[in-house]
Symmetry: D2
Subunit: 458 residues, 4 copies
């Protein structure tokens, strides 16, 4: 079994590898290949990972690669986790909309839009190579904004792909924990789009426990900081549990205000954290102090999410650390491989083509819903009637996504402008134009598709 | 033929009566009854109107009434044009959202919401009387916000009702004028909701002239100031002609900025204008100087719209005056009576139950579409596929309308809060709560239905 | 104003011309051109028509033509009423299905299917010429099966076309007569497909008179023999008025039995009647006895429909004669020209693209619904929710139509077989195969498109 | 774990018990209760079953019961397999439509309709008791017509219910066998209604093997006699695999002809077979020769399906025997218990509320689709777009089902008549009336709900 990580030089790779080691009995990897376009980062992270694997008794072989064709050849699974333009671009993504009073965030709103414009062409280029060299491989996409990237890969290529996001899966785990039930005994009816989903039924042994969750919401959110930004009165009124990212919609102006009041955006923090992390780790690696490098890595990563969302939701509400023991993305990633590889049927919340379960959307629109996953790949489960109160948001954001994917491929300025205009957090042609024009200037190095015909000067 | 105007003491009544006189050959009214709950205004306006009718040779009889049952008895047509809470409430409607950076406008956004909460219970009370006393009468609703009021009357009563708004009809007239074609020879494909509609085809002799209109947009908008706030590049990209009120959506933050930069909101201007108008006219009436009263009225009304929208769209763009010669509401009102009374088939843009023409909405949702109107009342015409790019707005605003009507009737705080939350110009629970709570305090005298169970203090 | 009749040599042409004369004040035709591919019939009918027009004071000029390009050049309106394969083919159309116990009828079921296969390629050839030579002309299609032909012309050409059938219009006229109201004061909610429609509301002055019609159904159907084959108990249960052709569905086995019990099918009668008519008329024409020819024509046509439907609905129920005074097709045809030419807005039941009014069908499926007709051409009116009890029939027949049109163009045997299989009156692959194979042999001269790849021998 | 079989005196009960014994390691039943209203049959079958269980080492306890409340109390699972009116009624069900040239078959068409009218009131009575006494029990419905019974129980009660039919599951098993793949490795996209379903994708390791199945159809159907009645050319054209019961639709007149040519209907055969079986078994039981009774039972049941469908599909095509080793219903029944009881996730084809996966049907219409089944009960999987060619049949049959359930409950004659009228195999009001009237006379003892207000004499 061969697993390839595209973007293997990323700082989260050691966490992923740690997951591979922990899950090794259930998901038996033989060869792990790390591919990256940045040889320097690849070398540092590669060394770190090799040491980690060796330390744990070398359950599998680790290789690094800078040739994609070779890297994906014969792979059974391919993870993709790239960041076009690097952390520095994220800072730009976030700062520009904030200038105009609009949410500046990595994946939601204009930030995710800019990221998608940069990332989709690169991901499509990679996918074409996979399609040619190894069409049977399963691609598990972690690259953000996950829904948009998955939509692009689904519509423009024939690779086998599952798009993932850990937020809904974490919700499910936390709900099960709170209800004191095994996660497998909890069936949640989750529907929507990536970072725009809701839970309107929580079935445990044939009984809907959502009303109880709402009654005991304060206790629940105390233990699950990601949800603590929603007050109980709001949840009672909504009568659903929203994905944490819906904070940016339902508390739109507060989110902007909180971020503005922070000294730095999350992106700026990350730039600094990663810079510091990489330089320290690299230093150790060069000195051959691999264990020390690993200790530093582990310590710095665990401190990292202490501040997660605290500057966006306006307070020291978050207090979750990412450790080598936590699940999150890594657990979800392993779970997917296990289901497909060993036909272990699971119900996971994934990004997949709609195929009719959200009846007002198109058959091939990518949605985020509870799916059955097994050897045959993911199939969405029926979600029933979608409440009228969220239809507007779903329609607007899905149209934003369709147009964004289209614009990212075509480099058509008008389409890009329309995409931002219909996004509910922009909801304005004039705002969209200002933000888009700023992005086209700032990110011009990463948006070659917009070179000609751009309407910036119009 | 008897026509009753509910809200007959309003300042626009003489304009309407002038329309009746001008159209007298085509729409032969015998008795005109002005009903109002404010005896003072009713007396002033009643005197003015009587003088006007007498001067024109008394084509019909004029009466005033303060008893609604009597007023509507035997009426063939009933116009409704009331303003619960008066002009002063409008100022409140507009100022509160502006405080939070959200559009403050008479009908669109939170302003229209507050107006609807005050007005729907009163309109329903009136409609119940009409339903009992004179169920065969046709009610032509001018009361704003027209779409919401029509939705409430349609869903909660069995009266025969047509909701009207002059904006789309004016668009059609201006388009015909610009294309140099008789209005009757131009068929526009108009669809959406009140103050949220688009034109995506302009058929003249079997040919779609929309592309030409877009090419020549600058010339068109020069002659039609209501549209001049949309730049040509925007129209080219949208590839539809939007209702002028869509300025508040597509240029959301500019609209707010323009209004904030004005020394006074439109509502404040109107309060002052109407106060001055009424006091001068009343003065003359009391002195028996009826012709002078009429002259003052005519002069002051014609100056009025010189400033229309200029403070909202950010400049002295508007320069249209309302005169005794203009059509607008009055022409549309006459046109409706003529169609129904004399079976003169016309295609008019009206607010009516959907009946399947906007396939993603419900059968009984009130929509604003081109209708066939004749003796049998209005029937919507097919509009074809609604472009994806506007589905999100339509869904959001329609759900806002459904919830607002429901909340206005029930006095349910949570429903009202949800209504504002899903409105695209609010798009935030936290904003919605601030605005709603302010309204409930400021308008408490006019919102008795919210007395108990209000969540203000929650 | 020039009007061209394609298929001008048909026996009904003089009736049509008589309509033109009677309506001359309202629809001012200058030139009438009769085009036909059969020079003999064209000469006989041409002479008859010329005499008729001359006798009435020559209100317009009559020409005959055998060159289509010339005939359609400069025409404002083009009627199409052709019969590929002639009356004799109709006999085959009807007899083959009867052999297998399936309805054998001119337009409904396999008979209409065979007719469509022969006719669509010829009509498309004609339409292509019109498209090139005179794209602005309005084509009014009378050629049967009208719904299928209109669907084919709509989908494969860009001509301006209205498909008509007199059955629903006759229903409306009879209903109005029965209710003692001017036809214009009756608005019927008619929906479905050609020869497969229902009326579920009859609005007169805002009141639904359908319940009354159902209560008094026996009296109604006594005066309107086309409906007399439906017993009152059936109508009560259906709670709608069905198009007369629905007799073939709702009384399926009785219709087949009645036809089988007749000594001859309707088609055989027509062959004989037309043969006799033409020979007698031709005889007179050759002798120059034009008035005598006209007298014979008039007498024989008026006797004709005495037997209409009597052999299909099982009794001497029908007793309507077609005279020079009756309206039917001719009145409807004139009405359409008048609406378009003089912008006289009417509500007519026409075959037009759906455009969303039957929400479960596709946008471009041709449906038969009440339309607004004026200078801009027809636009369907909203019909509201379609009752569940007829959804199955509508879906099956529409899919039959889509596949039939496709097969008529492609000559694909499998598609043709599938078309007949899904027709509710066949509802069997094995039956469909037998019937289709017989048709392909019997009609081989008129179905060149099926020459190769036919699965007959499979 | 307690399992109750309602209708435990039926001849298939020993087969089911044998399944319980074979699956005992996977589904550990402690108590088995057989309930029946016929004490005689219950005694015979009860003795047979007791002997069988004892012989296999008494893995669980067997009881018989004639009090339903007691029988269902504390049960974890309840099977229902009743036949109101007994085998003799089935003969009537089948013979009446055949008289009129319409399919006479146990579950499809008028036969299933009559069975539903008799059975639904009894099943609802039972379900109400379960709802009150033991609402947590899972009811697995085998009672035919399974789709209609499940629809009735879903709409009129709140019990937990899964409706099953072994036909689609058998298809899946046969397909897997033919493709030489483990059944679990084959994912079929099955959609439709009970006895009206299609397979349009057969996924094996991410590849669609349907095209291959169609190419090799003759070999497939040779090994699976249920499908052998469909010729390959038909399957090629349909490009889907139909449920075997679709033979009655796609080969409508051949099915009727075959049955008519048989000396006896399937129902008549069954009456005789069961009579003989029961009398021989009873004889042995009374003499205490239990092993002999079991031997006779086993021999006679295994011979039984030798003739299955042979008289309906017109030939000795079927040659499958039901033995104690075969799976069919019994395997499916065990599979369902195992999934729910031990949370063993499976994809099974079940009858469940639609919940949006067939987008043109209603949310609560019962459909037959591939579901995920686990502890949480069944959830339909997305099936994607339903081909247009089958929409008509699905709409017609579903409406027939809705009306039949309604009529069975209300005893409304008109509703019952309408139900039969819309069924595609009747497709005629006149035929429906004759068939219904005959049923109401013949089955009057079992249709008390139709006693008054019946329109028979109308």
């Amino acid at each position: 079994m061969k697993l390839t990580i595209i973007g293997g030089g990323g700082v989260r790779t050691p966490l992923m590898v740690n997951g591979l080691i922990r899950w090794h009995e259930r998901v038996n990897v033989d060869r792990l290949v790390l591919f990256d376009t940045d040889p320097e980062k690849l070398s540092v992270i590669g060394n770190l990972v090799s040491h980690l694997v060796q330390k744990k008794g070398s359950p599998f072989q680790v290789e690094v690669a800078t040739d994609l064709t070779e890297a994906v050849q014969d792979a059974d699974f391919i993870y993709t986790a790239i960041r076009v333009g690097g952390d520095v671009s994220r800072v730009v993504d976030e700062k520009i909309p904030l200038k105009y009073g609009v949410l500046g965030q990595e994946t939601t709103g204009p930030g995710g839009f800019a990221m998608a414009l940069r990332t989709i062409p690169v991901m499509l280029e990679y996918a074409k190579i996979i399609e040619e060299v190894n069409p049977d491989a399963w691609v598990v996409n972690f690259t953000n904004p996950s829904g948009l990237i998955t939509e692009a890969l689904q519509k423009y290529t024939n690779i086998k792909i599952v798009g993932i996001c850990d937020a809904p899966s974490s919700m499910k785990l936390e709900i099960a924990k709170f209800l004191n039930e095994p996660a497998d005994d909890v069936h949640i009816n989750y529907f929507g789009l990536n970072h725009l989903g809701w839970i309107n039924r929580i079935m445990v042994k044939g009984e809907d426990r959502l009303p109880e969750m709402i009654d005991r919401y304060d206790a629940f959110s105390q233990g699950f900081p990601h949800m603590s930004s929603f007050p109980k009165t709001f949840i009672q009124q909504l009568h659903m549990l929203p994905n944490e990212y819906l904070y940016y919609y339902y508390f739109r102006e507060e989110a902007v205000q909180n971020i503005r009041q922070s000294s730095r955006t999350r992106g700026e923090q990350i730039v600094e954290l990663n810079r510091s992390l990489l330089s320290q780790v690299e230093d150790c690696v060069q000195k051959g102090q691999l264990q020390k490098a690993l200790d530093i890595y582990e310590k710095m990563m665990s401190e990292r999410t202490r501040s997660y969302m605290s500057n966006e939701t306006g307070g020291a509400k978050g207090d979750q650390s990412v450790t080598f023991e936590s699940e999150g993305y890594e657990g979800l990633a392993m779970s997917i491989i296990e289901s497909i590889l060993h036909n272990r049927r699971k119900t996971l919340i994934l990004n997949v083509p709609n195929q009719g379960v959200l009846s007002s959307l198109k058959e091939d629109d990518v949605v985020e819903v509870t799916c059955l996953l097994d050897r045959h790949g993911p199939v969405p489960l029926a979600v029933g009637h979608i409440p009228d109160r969220v239809q507007g948001l779903i329609h607007s954001v899905k149209e934003y996504e369709r147009l964004t994917v289209s614009a990212a491929v075509s480099g058509n300025y008008e389409q890009a402008l329309l995409a931002l205009t219909v996004h509910p957090l922009v909801c304005s042609y004039s705002l969209a134009k200002k933000i888009l024009d700023d992005y086209l200037i700032e990110h011009r190095a990463f948006l070659p598709q917009f070179k000609k015909g751009s309407g910036i000067h119009a």
